[in-house]
């Protein structure tokens, strides 16, 4: 399955800028943006794993990743706002 392996390589390539933003992003919001992109790459890799192994279990993993990524992004964004508001007071 050569196209599937190409998918894995391309998705891994897209994970590099997300990891870069997560590690060196100048502000906290940049790090959360990197995390968001990494969650998108993880969902795509999980769907590719479902295609490679022909099992639907990995699609359930993708659904769980989507929900966990939403909660993580929302919590971090709220934390950034609350912290900035607390400091400006």
């Amino acid at each position: 399955m050569t196209p599937t392996l190409l998918f894995v390589v391309l998705a891994g390539l897209a994970a590099v800028p997300g990891l870069h933003r997560l590690l060196v992003g100048p502000t906290l919001a940049d790090r959360v943006i990197g995390l968001d992109l990494l969650f998108a790459v993880a969902i795509i890799l999980s769907m590719t794993a479902a295609l490679l192994s022909q099992r639907t279990v990995f699609l359930d993993v993708a659904i769980g990743l989507a929900v966990v990524g939403f909660v993580a992004t929302l919590a971090w964004a709220r934390l950034i706002q609350v912290r900035a508001g607390g400091e400006s007071k």
Binding site: P3, F7, L10, A11, L13, A14, A15, V16, P17, G18, H20, R21, G25, P26, T27, L28, A29, D30, V32, I33, G34, D36, L37, A40, V41, I43, I44, M47, A50, L51, Q54, T56, L59, D60, A62, I63, A66, V67, G69, F70, T73, L74, W76, A77, R78, I80, Q81, R83, A84, G85, E87, S88
Partner: protein, 94 residues
């Protein structure tokens, strides 16, 4: 026929994901990086789900993918909105 279409749509989705990653890497400030990451990633994820659904032509896959796309469409705008507000917050601490 459906197989070739599925591979093409999956490839297109990955190209869009790479464009989103390029935007996250190159754009100048946090707000525009958020814009690149969230919108393009949403389009890429839903296109990839469509491609996978075409490749594995099966009801169990289709329902799970429809659930996944419904969750993404319900949830990603909220996350993007909160992320945009956080990126626009003045005096964002390091």
């Amino acid at each position: 026929m459906s197989d070739i279409l599925g591979w093409l749509i999956c490839g297109l989705a990955l190209v869009i994901l790479l464009i989103a990653a390029l935007g996250v890497y190159r754009l100048p400030d946090a707000l525009s990086r958020q814009h690149a990451a969230t919108k393009a990633a949403t389009l890429s994820l839903s296109l990839f789900a469509l491609g996978i659904g075409l490749l594995a032509w099966d009801a169990a896959w289709t329902w799970r993918l429809i659930l996944l796309v419904a969750i993404l469409f319900g949830v990603l705008p909220l996350a993007s909105h909160a992320l945009g507000q956080a990126a626009a917050t003045p005096g964002d601490p390091e």
